[in-house]
């Protein structure tokens, strides 16, 4: 638990003085243009005064390159192609030497251990064609959190060039899976967004499913079979304490925090009817939101907390519905061919991600909250359970392969951009499913 609580130490950020007045820089990415050509960017190995600082500086630069490359919006150039060798963080680069290798942006920086033991990283982003500094900032934190400094720099670069918040200083909670499908072992797990620092939160003696981050605290809610009745739990990552959200006579599952972090919406099976409830985590008092005799599950709140999107088969097959936060005004929004499940409201509020099944093909898609403008992002034998990056640009989901010839299929986490491009497998320690993205760590 020590490691987890350390990682939430706020990293201090301050802006460095710019070398040139901010102007209308040419170097910007318009994310709304659809498919974007990755921008070639040179990220130099950061400088360090001592061998130890030099090593840290190079590793931080590696974290930044990895983050920006995986976003699909940037193409970090091979450091071996660089002509100018940056030796002084405070001097202006020779822009002309970066143009032949087609670098449009240049990132320079330095790392140093401070007298108080903290690690500080300074960086500058240069516009090669505009010949000016676009942004310069410093971050510091405890040395063992050095990877966070790289993520914070990558977030700052991403935000400066796209105009939107980054998502690199984040974590992913997920389920590690092992063993054959008939005797699957499930462990609640957490790692940095880039796969670093993975750790198990439960031991694998019982089934755990569907973890989701609190938007306000270092806590997750999930469903566990550790009691006789499978139940929704809340896990406090700082204390390591876990507890059920209340005493219910039947299974509780499909939990998700509301945006204020004070409530959990979940499904409760009572008297052969699965309905959606919300519980206030302080009073522990549940409120029933649906009463239909069909299955009502997978509720997810809009970012303003005023509405919920959920899954119901009241019309004969699983479809997506919306309702007000108090359960009033329930209406169906999905009318396409097939079965729609696992709706998740985007943190930007403008889209709902879902799983769609048509025949034997599963897809991840998005639609507007009124059900219009459906777009399918990716399809395969089995895709399910989308989760949004905190900036609403990237979706993680579970992809499973079919079992054949005596070998179980395998499950893994994948990421895809909102526009359906940049499909990638996410590195996890083993098989994995049910990812949920954290909010920004700051």
């Amino acid at each position: 638990m020590k490691k987890l609580s350390q990682s939430i130490f706020a990293a201090l950020a301050l802006a460095l003085a710019a070398f040139a007045p901010p102007a209308n820089a040419a170097l910007e990415i318009d994310l709304n243009k659809g498919v974007v050509q990755p921008i070639p960017i040179a990220i130099t190995d950061f400088l360090g005064a001592t061998p130890r600082d030099q090593q840290t500086a190079a590793q931080v630069a590696g974290v930044i390159r990895g983050d920006l490359e995986r976003s699909g919006l940037f193409q970090p150039l091979d450091p071996r192609s660089y002509v100018e060798k940056i030796t002084n963080f405070s001097s202006i680069p020779r822009f002309g030497e970066w143009r032949p290798i087609n670098a449009q942006g240049l990132v320079t920086g330095q790392a140093r251990q401070l007298a108080d033991g903290q690690l500080q990283v300074d960086f500058r982003l240069w516009d090669i064609f505009g010949e000016q500094q676009m942004i310069g900032m410093s971050f510091k934190t405890t040395p063992e959190n050095w990877r966070r400094l790289g993520h914070l720099v990558a977030d700052a670069i991403y935000e400066r060039l796209t105009g939107e918040k980054g998502y690199f200083d984040t974590r992913i909670v997920f389920i590690s899976e092992s063993g054959p499908k008939t005797k699957r072992r499930y462990r609640l797990s957490i790692m940095d967004q880039d796969g670093a620092n993975p750790s198990f939160l439960t031991g694998g003696d019982f089934i755990v499913l569907s973890p989701r981050f609190s938007p306000t605290k270092q806590a997750i809610t999930y469903m566990s079979y550790e009691r006789a009745t499978p139940s929704v739990f809340v896990f406090d990552l700082q204390t390591g304490q876990r507890e059920v959200i209340g005493q219910y006579s039947g299974m509780t599952f499909a939990p998700r925090f509301t945006p204020d972090g004070n409530r959990v919406v979940f499904s409760y099976s009572r008297d052969n009817n699965v309905d959606i409830y919300a519980v206030d985590l302080r009073s522990r008092r549940p409120q029933r939101l649906t009463t239909d005799p069909g299955i009502d599950t997978s509720a997810s709140a809009s970012p303003d907390g005023a509405r919920l999107v959920f899954n119901s088969d009241r019309g004969g097959s699983p479809q997506i519905y919306v309702m007000n936060a108090d359960g009033s005004g329930q209406s169906r929004i999905s009318f396409g061919q097939g079965r729609y499940t696992t709706p998740v409201w985007s943190p930007r509020g403008d889209l709902i991600a879902f799983t769609k099944q048509v025949g034997q093909t599963f897809s991840i898609g998005v639609m507007s909250p009124d059900g219009q403008r459906e777009r399918i992002l990716t399809s395969s034998y089995s895709e399910e359970g989308p989760t949004w990056s905190p900036n609403g640009r990237v979706i993680l989901f579970t992809r499973s392969t079919p079992g054949r010839g005596g070998s179980s299929g395998s499950s893994s986490i994948w990421s895809v951009d909102l526009t359906g491009v940049n499909l990638r497998k996410v590195i996890t320690p083993g098989e994995a499913s049910d990812p949920a993205w954290s909010p920004l760590n700051r």
């Binding site: 054959p180 499908k181 008939t182 699957r184 499930y186 089934i207 499913l209 569907s210 469903m223 009745t229 499978p230 039947g250 299974m251 599952f253 499909a254 499904s267 099976s269 052969n272 699965v274 299955i295 599950t297 997978s298 899954n311 088969d313 097959s317 699983p318 079965r339 499940t341 696992t342 799983t355 099944q357 034997q360 034998y381 089995s382 399910e384 359970g385 499973s400 079919p402 079992g403 054949r404 010839g405 005596g406 070998s407 179980s408 299929g409 499913s433 049910d434």
Partner: protein, 165 residues
């Protein structure tokens, strides 16, 4: 796989029970190695329930209503429960993998309830029956084909208390 292999063995044994004293050596040769003989199955035991009654009923795709072919098995379960009144059952509801996790937890819940309600309708005290859904998380078969998916869409009755050993 272990459970599957055992079940195959039991099917063969149950078959040989129905035969006369002259057993089918050919079928026994195919069965997995087991020292269990019909005479060693103690009446009222969990083994008796599995072998002579049947612990599994299958469901149609996306459905949770008890099928005609399941009713006979559940009638036998109810009759057996009447004979052994201290026995309690845990009814598990399971799904195939062709659905999403959370929806399948709910569907498995309905299947378990459907089994429970049928048993209650034929006279079993509801207090003796518990239900638990495993959704698609505990399949008996891992192949991606119709036959496997059918085996996985099931209600599985496990004796949770009260059986003789």
């Amino acid at each position: 796989m272990f459970r599957g292999a055992m079940k195959l063995g039991f099917v063969v044994l149950a078959g040989s029970l129905a035969l006369t004293a002259c057993s089918s050596t050919k079928e026994e040769a195919k069965a997995p190695v087991t020292t269990t003989t019909p005479s060693s199955v103690k009446p009222g035991s969990a083994e008796d329930f599995r072998i002579n009654v049947g612990d599994t009923v299958l469901f149609d795709l996306d459905q949770h209503s008890v099928r005609g072919d399941a009713q006979g098995i559940l009638q036998k379960q109810a009759a057996w429960l009447k004979q052994y009144p201290s026995v309690r059952l845990m009814v598990e509801g399971h799904c195939d993998e062709r659905g999403t996790r959370e929806y399948n937890l709910a569907l498995g819940d309905r299947r378990a309830y459907a089994v429970k309600e049928f048993l209650v309708s034929v006279g079993v005290d509801a207090a003796r029956l518990q239900t638990k859904s495993y959704g698609k998380e505990r399949p008996v078969c891992a192949e991606a084909d119709d036959s496997c998916w059918q085996q996985n869409r099931r209600g599985f009755s496990v004796i949770s208390a009260g059986a003789g050993s």
